[in-house]
């Protein structure tokens, strides 16, 4: 009788450990990728994009402020709020785990350049809106609805994790040819003393060509 009970406890323990490891492994794989991206001294070899007039810019409608985000593959369906920079020149994020912040001083999703959305990976009590963001795969679709109820669809290009302070801010927020949208959240271990996670996750997407 005791033998069975101890066996059950051991199995239960292993299952719990494995499931907690699983999450860690996923994180270490993605941060492994970032090593490749950041360790090459000269980061060059960027492709030329066609100049803007070849993209029939004037004929396509202009996007409005984004209001809603849907990511079917990871079950995200959330409202978007517009935020900007605070006095420390940091991007303001929602004070809750349900909303997603849009960086309003930058671009609207669907405009040429980089639009940026940020959401929490967790709040004080558990998983938040972008908890599963690291599970996104290249090719997954993200749909933004703007203030005029127009839908804009983006396709995931790549998912990268960066150690704190090493994310390429300018690549994520800066000028870019092409209609891009980047989703940001935290990843890695939560460092309670620093009050933040040790890594940042960026999901790079490009607007779907109709």
């Amino acid at each position: 009788m005791l033998g069975i009970a101890s066996l059950l406890l051991i199995i239960g323990g292993v299952v719990l450990i494995l499931s907690s490891m699983d999450k860690e492994r996923a994180e270490s794989t993605s941060s492994g990728n970032s090593e490749v991206a950041t360790s090459s001294g000269i980061q060059l070899k960027k492709e030329f994009s066609p100049s803007s007039d070849e993209k029939a810019e004037s004929t396509s409608p202009t996007p409005g402020s984004p209001e809603h985000i849907r990511i079917p593959s990871i079950g995200v369906d959330a409202p978007i709020i517009a935020t900007g920079l605070d006095e420390n020149n940091e991007m303001v994020v929602p004070d809750n785990g349900e909303e997603v912040a849009w960086f309003e001083p930058g671009r609207e999703p669907g405009e040429e350049g980089n639009a940026v959305l940020a959401g929490h990976v967790d709040d004080y009590s558990g998983p938040a809106v972008f908890f599963d963001l690291e599970k996104l795969q290249p090719g997954d679709e993200i749909t933004i609805t703007d203030e005029r109820d127009m839908a804009w669809t983006f396709i995931v290009d790549k998912v990268e994790a960066y150690p704190l302070g090493e994310a390429p801010i300018r690549d994520i927020f800066g000028p870019e040819q092409g209609r891009k949208m980047n989703l940001l959240t935290c990843t890695g271990l939560y460092d309670a003393s620093a009050g933040t996670h040790e890594e940042r996750l960026a999901v790079y997407t490009t607007m779907k060509q109709e």
Binding site: G3, L7, L16, F48, G84, A101, G165, R170, L184, C186
Partner: protein, 269 residues
């Protein structure tokens, strides 16, 4: 148990070493940003080499790269016809010196027979809510021009090939601009030019005088210094609890099993 504890200590030590490294390595602090623009109307598609490495292949007229990171210092920039495959003499070769934390546009300008590299330092700041713009006269045979409001004042005066002007900060909005000769004759209508807030632009007049056109590049958009704080740790502590519960259960199981085994042995004896 001692071993397990030792392992934990090692893991914790290792991760703090990595964390320190992450803070110490302030990425980008010793690098400059450079983009390359092909503004030579009759030059073929080109490859661009920096210090002998191909960084761009098959760039045509009016193609520009996005900004690339380069270590601060001196670099050799070579431009080559795309079909030359690095063989033979480059079309043009030039030394480029860049400073850490600065951004640059390197434009290949002029007709092919006297191709040149024009280097300009790009602005990476704009007052909140404003827009900033400069113009470049990159049309080899066009006369000296002004750029200004149609029927109004000139914003940029007396630009001649291959000048890139200083920036002007303006209210964001849509402007009816024109490129005109100094005597006021319009050479290109730019009405309806939208300049968005918190954005820095370069407007290059390119191609021959006969086919003059405006080429707009974005030099900067507003951005934070750091990535946002997007987590409060709630899911993380849940994860720790799970790990601890797992270890605890396993330990209890092992102890229990040992107890059962011992009991059975004492029964048998």
């Amino acid at each position: 148990m001692k071993k397990v504890f030792a392992l934990f200590v090692t893991v914790v030590l290792l991760s703090s070493v990595f964390a320190l490294e992450a803070f110490a390595d302030n990425h980008g602090s010793d690098e400059a940003m450079v983009r390359i623009a092909h503004a030579s109307p009759d030059a073929p598609a080109v490859d661009v080499y920096v210090n002998g490495d191909a960084v761009v292949e098959g760039a045509a007229f009016k193609d520009a790269t996005d900004y690339m990171n380069l270590p601060a210092g001196e670099h050799e920039v070579e431009i080559d016809a795309a079909d030359a495959d690095g063989e033979g003499d480059p079309v043009i070769s030039s030394m480029l010196t860049v400073e850490a934390g600065q951004a640059y546009t390197v434009a290949a300008v002029g007709m092919l027979e006297n191709l040149d590299l024009e280097v300009a330092m790009d602005s990476m700041e704009v007052s909140d809510g404003m827009t900033k713009v400069r113009v470049g006269h990159l049309s080899p045979d066009a006369p000296t021009v002004d750029v200004g409001l149609i029927g109004g004042d000139a914003l940029f005066s007396g630009a001649s090939f291959p000048a890139i002007t200083d920036y002007q900060e303006l209210d964001a909005g849509t402007y009816d601009l024109e490129i005109r000769t100094e005597d006021g004759t319009q050479v290109l209508d730019l009405s309806g030019t939208t300049l968005e807030e918190n954005t820095v632009y370069s407007v290059f007049a390119v191609n021959t005088a006969e086919n003059l056109e405006a080429w707009v590049l974005t030099d900067y958009t507003a951005m934070p210094d750091e990535m946002p704080q997007t987590g409060m740790g709630g899911a993380q502590s849940g994860m720790d609890t799970m790990l601890l519960a797992g270890l605890g259960a396993m330990l209890a199981g092992v102890l229990l099993a040992g107890f059962a085994f011992n009991r059975r042995r004492s029964h048998q004896s």
